[in-house]
Amino acid sequence: MSFSDAGRTIDAIWRIESPKLIAGLTRMVRDVGLAEDLAQDALVIALERWPETGIPDNPGAWLMTTAKRRAIDLLRRNKLRDQKYEELTRSAEWYTEEDMDRQLDGEIGDDLLRLIFMTCHPVLSQDARVALTLRLLCGLTTDEIARAFLVAEATIAQRIVRAKRTLSAKKVPFEVPVGAELKERLGTVLEVMYLMFNEGYSATAGEHWVRPLLCQEALRLGRVLAEIAPDEPEVHGLAALMEIQASRLKTRVGADGEPILLMDQNRAQWDRLLIRRGLAALNRCRQLGKPLGPYALQAAIAACHAQAVTPADTDWVRISALYEALSRVLPSPIVELNRAVAVAMAFGPLYGLQIVDAITEEEALSEYHLLPSVRGDLLFKLDRFEEARLEFERAAALAKNSRERDLLLARASECIH
């Protein structure tokens, strides 16, 4: 094996092993920054040795044993608390390959889950949670994270260093929260993943080629979480939502980078495998027999679209009902606006217009071009052309994207008879 081949292979092993390694080490040393340093040290040793000795049969166990030896050396040197040192020396020997295998099912999954709760802890800013999670749970380099977010590498590096320091200073425990706290903290974890996913999903044309990385990582983490926290319905709900949305990733942007709306996408190019996975995840969520949460409801709506062979097959009645349920668990004028569109499609534009008219005064929507755009469309369908024209013009004035603005102005001129 040449040196560079070995390097790439070790990179791949690092990607597979590093989250487990860092999680296991954090459990031992109770400091995520130190755990990452120890894991990195083990990686450096592997990079020196493996090109000569060949890759060990169980590289994960090798890295863990090496990192633990480093930890003991370090603790011995720093004369840290005796107890911690004792604990480590005692546990250093039992980390054999069989242990590694045995623990795959239980303990490692638990450690990973604890680590996710740590990197998504509310003491950290939203940006810091995302960066730290990508670094420690996805094994991305700071350079990769920086590229994905289109910011300087130094910014990300600093963000991560600060996040680790904050976790240490605030003595954030390495544990899965229980009881009422679990629901709230799980919400934060899911939010981080969905934020990551959307950051990649909403990428504009120029960035199109770099940012899918974020979608892929969020999706992968969502799948991991579904395996290690299988009793939480919203975990499956989010996984389902991301799988189904990802199934349309390739069809949502045209050749020139222009966005293609759901109803205009080429459905033959939707990724059937991801749709199938999304529907399966939604099913797992339903089988838990609990009321559907916001992610599961959004996934159920996405599933309706995914299952419609043509736009005309869309089950708008069902989508209307799902939006209604969603607006109960997650009251928001944006959800209401979406519900208005679904209701108009299901029962006629007049019913949709009634819902829109109820939210026109919403402060949150005052700059939102889709409100007048939807209202204009409904008025147009009701043959109220003059009112429709005014709405389209107002929408055009609010639209930030020139392509959208042109489209809205074209619709406004259609209203003149």
Binding site: R15, E144, R147
Partner: protein, 137 residues
Amino acid sequence: MRFMMIVKGTTDSEAGVKPSQELLDAMLRYNEELAKAGVLLAADGLQPSSSGIRISYPEPGGKPKVVDGPFTEAKEIIAGFTLIEVKSREEAIEWALRMPDPHGGGQAEIELRQIFDPEELSSDENKQEKIKGQFRL
């Protein structure tokens, strides 16, 4: 990037001999490991080729020829597949190396093939260049 790990047929798999409990357990654990790493997309085993059908086109532009199984040459037969989504070719190889030995009595073979991205099938050269750039990242 997606890869298909293809487990080739063996005399046993073609004869419909069920895998040992030990191998089944190992496969189950392996699939769990893939799932927990978030890389597993799909995995299935195929029935022996005796229930398979081959459709060939011996004459260009001619009618297809339909032949019922079984087919000879076990190594050309697929016994099962696992689809994974990973970040690099090396990561795919690493996962494939961790797949349990299919116990083929010396015939066992796992083939790793990368799946075409829909974009890669595009004839748009500009896009092709961008894809290559992306893989370099």
